[in-house]
């Protein structure tokens, strides 16, 4: 079932491909598929260009600061996804952030990780270099060598 889903995804635009997946929308199999398609996946209210909630907006801004590319799903578009992801993650609120198929938290956790520097490290462990880390490395390079 998943192989046929993946073949569809490679050929077709994202939303159309999702509809062709045989798993029921909002089911565990369906959501397992969504969180597998990109290293970073965000379930939010609204879209990155138009967040519909302050908490979802906070996640979008943090991702933007770190220059992270991610797939996002607007739970307001589909009630089955909105309720399904809460059961799938065992987490009652939106937004929800997945990193390499693992749920890492919502807005509060992401904010704390961002403020403490943990987010940069967690991204790096998963093969993603944060823009903020790149800036730091550039600054270190341009410092004059100490005698």
């Amino acid at each position: 079932m998943f192989n046929s889903c993946l073949r569809q995804l490679n050929r077709q635009p994202l939303l159309v491909a999702i509809r062709h997946c045989s798993a029921e929308v909002g089911s565990n199999a369906y959501l397992e598929n969504l969180v597998s398609k990109s290293p970073v996946v965000v379930f939010m209210k609204g879209t990155p260009d138009n967040p519909r909630c302050g908490f979802s907006n906070a996640v979008v801004q943090i991702m933007r600061m770190h220059g992270v590319q991610y797939d996002s799903y607007n739970v307001l578009d589909d009630e089955k996804i909105r309720q399904g992801i809460k059961e799938f993650s065992k987490w009652p609120t939106i937004p929800q952030v997945y990193l390499n198929k693992e749920f890492i938290g919502g807005c509060d956790i992401l904010l704390q990780m961002h403020q403490s520097g943990e987010l940069i490290e967690e991204l790096r462990k998963n093969g993603i270099i944060s823009s903020l880390l790149e800036e730091e490395l550039e600054k270190d390079k341009s410092k004059p060598a100490e005698k």
Binding site: F55, N57, T93
Partner: protein, 105 residues
């Protein structure tokens, strides 16, 4: 000028939600109830605090819990303990902010 200002949407802030004003509220009772639930779930907690951040509407809360129960757990697991303790109440909320910590030894 005042009438025009009322028509304009309130300014958006990146990291805070917009607070609506409610009249006739029992936000103190709502906060007390959630605190009680958390203190029952975490009887050895060194600190538990709940604040209604929805302007008294009871639709959004911020909770702080400091407890040795969180020792060694990831943030997700720590926050899950809170959401599980408040599962029924969260169904009626618009949102919940959580801060957890381990007491300094």
């Amino acid at each position: 000028m005042k009438a025009l200002r009322r028509l304009l949407p309130p300014p958006r802030t990146a990291l805070t939600s917009q607070v609506r004003r409610c009249s006739g509220t029992d936000s103190d009772a709502g906060e007390a109830r959630l605190e009680e639930l958390l203190k029952t779930r975490f009887p050895t907690a060194s600190a538990v605090r709940v604040q209604d951040i929805s302007g008294g509407c009871g639709s959004m809360y911020e909770v702080w819990v400091e407890s040795s129960d969180f020792q060694g757990l990831s943030r997700v697991k720590q926050h899950r303990l809170i959401t599980e303790a408040l599962a029924e109440q969260i169904k009626d909320m618009h949102g919940l902010r959580i801060s957890t910590s381990v007491p300094e030894s």
